[in-house]
């Protein structure tokens, strides 16, 4: 095999291995789902979590779906599924925009800095693009399966996005800059 072909393959393998490492590390850090009697039981006091997080819990939790399904009205079930899918897409757009803003701000600071931490930047890039990939997958699956079915995937995507502000802040501090204020506590931890 020629070296011109070997190099991209090796680089590709390296990126896949790194992505796998970071994603596996994330997976261990995210709190497991907690459902009791079909109702979502979030970790921590609900009043301490941000409003978009609480809305997201509502969008993806199965309790309302069960209630509408048991009502015996196919019309209502149809409307409910359509509405929740629309809300889920809206939420997905919201978290993508938030993550994009965090990474753009960070990129701006990095461009102005003289010191660079390639490993840290690589980790941020891998996490960000993994997050975008999972968002894309969630967007696709939402259309076929609905929000309740893909709630674990969404939880995972939210876990990735919630780690981005912390990572970029650490990297900014390492560059010698001032860190941005972190989003409120509720945005940093996905509760289910």
């Amino acid at each position: 095999m020629s070296t011109s072909l070997l190099l991209p393959i090796l680089l590709g393998l390296l990126v896949i291995l790194a992505a796998g490492y970071f994603l596996f590390r994330d997976r261990k850090g995210i709190a497991p789902a907690a459902y009791h009697n079909g109702t979502l039981v979030p970790n921590g006091d609900p009043s301490t979590r941000s409003i978009p997080t609480r809305v997201a819990e509502k969008i993806f939790e199965p309790a309302d779906f069960e209630f509408v399904r048991n009502s015996g009205s196919p019309e209502a079930l149809n409307l409910f599924q359509r509405e929740r899918r629309r809300l889920a897409l809206l939420w997905l757009k919201h978290v993508r925009q938030q993550a994009g803003r965090v990474v753009r701000n960070h990129a701006q600071k990095v461009r102005m800095s003289k010191r660079l931490d390639p490993a840290g930047e690589f980790e941020i890039a891998v996490r960000y693009y993994s997050f975008l990939g999972i968002c894309g997958l969630a967007w696709l699956l939402l259309h076929f399966l609905g929000p309740v079915t893909i709630r674990h995937l969404v939880r995972y995507a939210a876990g990735l996005s919630s780690r981005l502000p912390g990572l970029t802040n650490e990297a900014t501090v390492a560059l010698g800059g001032e860190s941005d204020p972190l989003p409120e506590a509720g945005d940093r931890k996905w509760p289910f």
């Binding site: 109702t39 978009p52 809305v55 509502k58 209630f67 009502s71 509405e83």
Partner: protein, 145 residues
């Protein structure tokens, strides 16, 4: 507007809760009541009793805070609770349930009870939930279609 002291506003909120909101049955009815005290042109809230006790600025601020809180409770409540709240409110309005559902589905008066600085996601959640709750209520009174 004069600078408001937090303590005064908190006291006014408690006052509103104790003297007015506790007497209203259901969170949806409370939400509609608080929203009705808001001037649509200015976004300011007016409540004679509360203004008399705390002053108009403190009363307005307290109503705005309570409005936001009650709105969040309703927007994030389960569909089961919302359907029950909606049914109670419809029955207390004196109109027949069928007429109430038709009016609400067509005019969507629930859109005017949203607080001024509500985020888009919560607003959409609220409107979506009320729309589904109305459909569920309608299916209860017209099971065949």
């Amino acid at each position: 507007m004069a600078i408001l002291r937090q303590g005064e506003v908190v006291t006014a909120c408690r006052d509103l809760q104790r003297h007015t909101l506790e007497g209203i049955h259901g969170d949806l009815a409370r939400l509609i009541y608080i929203a009705s005290t808001r001037d649509y042109a200015t976004g300011r809230y007016h409540h004679d009793g509360l203004s008399f006790r705390c002053g108009p600025d403190v009363a307005s601020k307290a109503l705005a805070i309570c409005h936001k809180e009650v709105f969040l409770i309703v927007a994030l409540s389960s569909l089961e609770v919302l359907v029950s709240n909606l049914e109670d409110y419809a029955r207390s309005s004196g109109e027949g349930l069928a007429q109430f559902i038709r009016t609400w589905a067509e005019l969507q008066p629930f859109r005017v009870v949203v607080p001024l600085d509500c985020d888009k996601l919560t607003l959409e959640m609220f409107v979506s939930n009320v729309t589904v709750a109305l459909m569920l209520l309608r299916s209860r009174i017209q099971p065949s279609g």
